[in-house]
């Protein structure tokens, strides 16, 4: 009778998903051996967006820091890669990591200033900062000023001597980066930190009242997100071999699309960006030729989903089918009881964190 309550985290679906992910990872690692150049290029793009969206989701979905200025860090990462490889002759792959550190350090004073703004004005503040970085890099003539520059041939060849080897190396770097980003987010969300973040997501005053230091938590998440976003930015610029202020700090490419992915997929859930990225690339594959109509559709869908399905596709799946791909929640299971004792027929108490 008096069996203790059990706390479960993984479900059969999440175990299946973990096995599936490992299998998928194996196929993705081997992809250069059976996929062509353009497919690899597309996959790196998908990895980049998945990483950017997962990071934005961690930032906005969990801590409520609705930044529309993450392009600041994509651009900083790209420019850091160019500066590190051109001026300091750093090996490009290493520069992808160092670019993240550089930008994370710049994120500290940035956060110190814009954390004075709350809510929507915080969003505007992040955008202003991104514009400042864009306008500053448009003045740096050593990096091509407003018209930008290409990665010099000797740097390109230092990635790898042949084009095929370069493509493969960039691909594996991209794959490694997205796996690292997802693992980082997963580990954060599984930890004590994750509990704090989930508490902040659900109610800031309540989180503060049970001892979560909201300001510090947000600051650290902003810092980590900035660094990882910059590494992704460095990867993107390494893949493109070219950089310009307009493209590197583009609000459309690095923030509007990312927000679309997270909103459609489901904000505040780790599955969200995964689902959103798939939807985004499917739409892009079919509709990108329609130019402005395509963007109008994205805008309209984002509005409609936010208004009618605020938790996105992932939230809908979770509610309808109790589907969690990542074992992040804690489920309290009651011991089996004689019928009639428990008024709820469902043996699984609806306590979900």
């Amino acid at each position: 009778m008096n069996e203790a309550l059990r706390i479960e985290r993984s479900t059969r679906i999440s175990q299946f998903f973990a096995a599936f992910s490992l299998l998928l990872l194996f196929f993705l690692i081997a992809a250069p051996f059976y996929l062509g150049r353009s497919e690899l290029y597309l996959l790196v793009e998908i990895f980049s967006y998945l990483a950017l969206a997962s990071l934005w989701n961690l930032l906005a979905g969990y801590t409520g820091l609705a930044s529309i200025g993450q392009q600041a860090f994509v651009g900083l990462g790209g420019y850091s890669l160019f500066a590190l490889t051109i001026f300091f002759r750093m090996p490009p792959i290493l520069a992808v990591l160092v670019a993240g550190i550089v930008a994370a350090l710049l994120a500290v004073p940035t956060a110190w200033v814009i954390f004075r703004l709350k809510g929507a004005y915080f969003a505007i503040g992040t955008w202003v900062v991104a514009e400042v970085y864009r306008l500053v890099f448009a003045q740096v003539s050593a990096l091509g000023a407003g018209s930008g520059t290409s990665l010099p041939t000797q740097v390109v060849q230092s990635i790898a001597p042949t084009r095929a080897a370069r493509d493969n190396l960039i691909y594996w770097t991209g794959l490694g980066l997205v796996v690292a980003v997802l693992a980082l987010i997963y580990l954060i969300l599984r930890s004590r930190w994750g509990l704090a973040l989930t508490a902040i997501r659900d109610s800031e005053p309540a989180a503060e009242s049970v001892g979560v230091d909201n300001y510090r938590t947000k600051f650290i998440i902003y810092f980590l997100t900035a660094g990882a976003t910059s590494s992704v930015g460095a990867l993107i610029s390494m893949q493109k071999l070219r950089i310009s202020p307009e493209a590197a700090f583009s609000v459309n490419d690095w923030t509007a699309f990312v927000i679309f992915i997270v909103v459609i997929g489901g904000i505040g859930r780790m599955e969200g960006p995964l689902i959103g990225t798939i939807v985004f690339f499917l739409l892009r594959g079919f509709l990108a030729d329609f130019g402005p109509w395509y963007f109008m559709l994205l805008g309209a869908v984002a509005i409609i989903v936010t208004l009618t399905m605020p938790k996105g596709i992932a939230g809908w799946l979770a509610e309808k089918f109790d589907l969690d791909l990542f074992p992040l929640r804690r489920r309290v299971r009651l011991p089996k009881q004689k019928s009639n004792e428990n008024p709820s027929k469902n043996p699984e108490w609806p306590v979900r964190i």
Partner: protein
């Protein structure tokens, strides 16, 4: 003397920024919404004025007779149809929805009018100037913009503090639930606030179109200027917003004097500096 002229230019430019900002400030005051599509709505009204002037052959300022009611109606519809549904305790949804509206509008304008730069032809208003003592000349158009800003802000103050509608606006601003208990229809009132906001936007849009070239992509930057003016001035104070606009305008013209590439950068940097030193702005009423 040249420096004085630059500062005067900046002050008058601040009038235009205050026009950009006062509509945004009003809706933030009434319903705590920061409308990210605000700049795109300014550009939309410039384009509508362009259509009206082309079609009827009238002066851009005359086109306001049609543009103001059109934008006001659009504002009411936008508020009742979209924004009202996004307003709740969650801070994220209004940001996401108005960002979606911004992307939609920008591309709708791009699809309809192409990416070409346009301008509203205002005849000799563009070049008329007043000669001041000391050999200085001040454009009539910038003076007109500044005076319009004074009239708009003065009018808004009168409306907010001396009319029944203004009292209703202030009461929902203070406490939405209690206002509703007192018989105020919040949804309708928010619609009216957005209509008023976009009426002001259309005046700003026409002046923008006369003063500079415009194209569908310039909206977000105008929205950023408006927000900067509001934050510098302090949330909730309309005269503060005017001061904020003037500070931003002067920063930009002085920056442009050093190097044309520094114009917008100088404005942003002054904004960030003020934010660091005085985060509540100069005349904050809303916390």
């Amino acid at each position: 003397m040249d420096l004085v002229a630059t500062v005067v230019d900046g002050i008058l430019l601040g009038g235009l920024y205050a026009l950009f900002a006062s509509g945004l400030s009003l809706i933030f005051g009434v319903m705590r919404l920061v409308n990210i599509a605000h700049g795109d709505l300014i550009v939309l009204s410039s384009f509508i004025a362009l259509v009206v002037t082309d079609h009827f052959g009238v002066h851009p300022l005359v086109s306001l007779v049609l543009v103001v009611p059109f934008m006001a109606l659009l504002g009411y519809g936008l508020q009742r149809g979209i924004f009202n549904r996004a307003l709740d305790s969650d801070i994220l949804r209004p940001v996401l929805v108005s960002f979606g509206v911004s992307v939609f509008l920008q591309n709708a304008l791009l699809q309809t009018f192409s990416a070409d730069s346009r301008r509203l032809q205002a005849g000799n208003l563009e070049t008329l100037h007043l000669d001041l003592p000391g050999g200085m000349a001040v454009g009539v158009l910038p003076c007109l913009m500044f005076m319009t800003a004074l009239v708009v802000i003065g009018g808004l103050q009168l409306l907010l503090y001396h009319t029944e509608l203004g009292r209703a606006f202030r009461s929902v601003s203070d406490d939405q639930q209690t206002a509703q208990l007192m018989g105020i229809n919040n949804a309708h009132l928010f619609g009216l606030a957005m209509a008023l906001s976009l009426a002001i936007v259309s005046v700003a849009g026409v002046f923008l179109g006369i003063r500079t070239n415009f194209d569908p992509s310039i909206g977000p930057t105008r929205m950023i200027f408006a927000c900067e003016a509001i934050i510098i001035g302090g949330l909730g104070d309309l005269w503060g917003t005017l001061v904020g606009g003037v500070i931003l305008g002067v920063a930009q013209t002085l920056g442009a004097r050093i190097n044309p590439g520094y114009q917008i950068l100088a404005g942003h940097l002054v904004f960030l500096t003020i934010l660091t030193l005085r985060p509540q702005g100069f005349f904050a009423k809303v916390r």
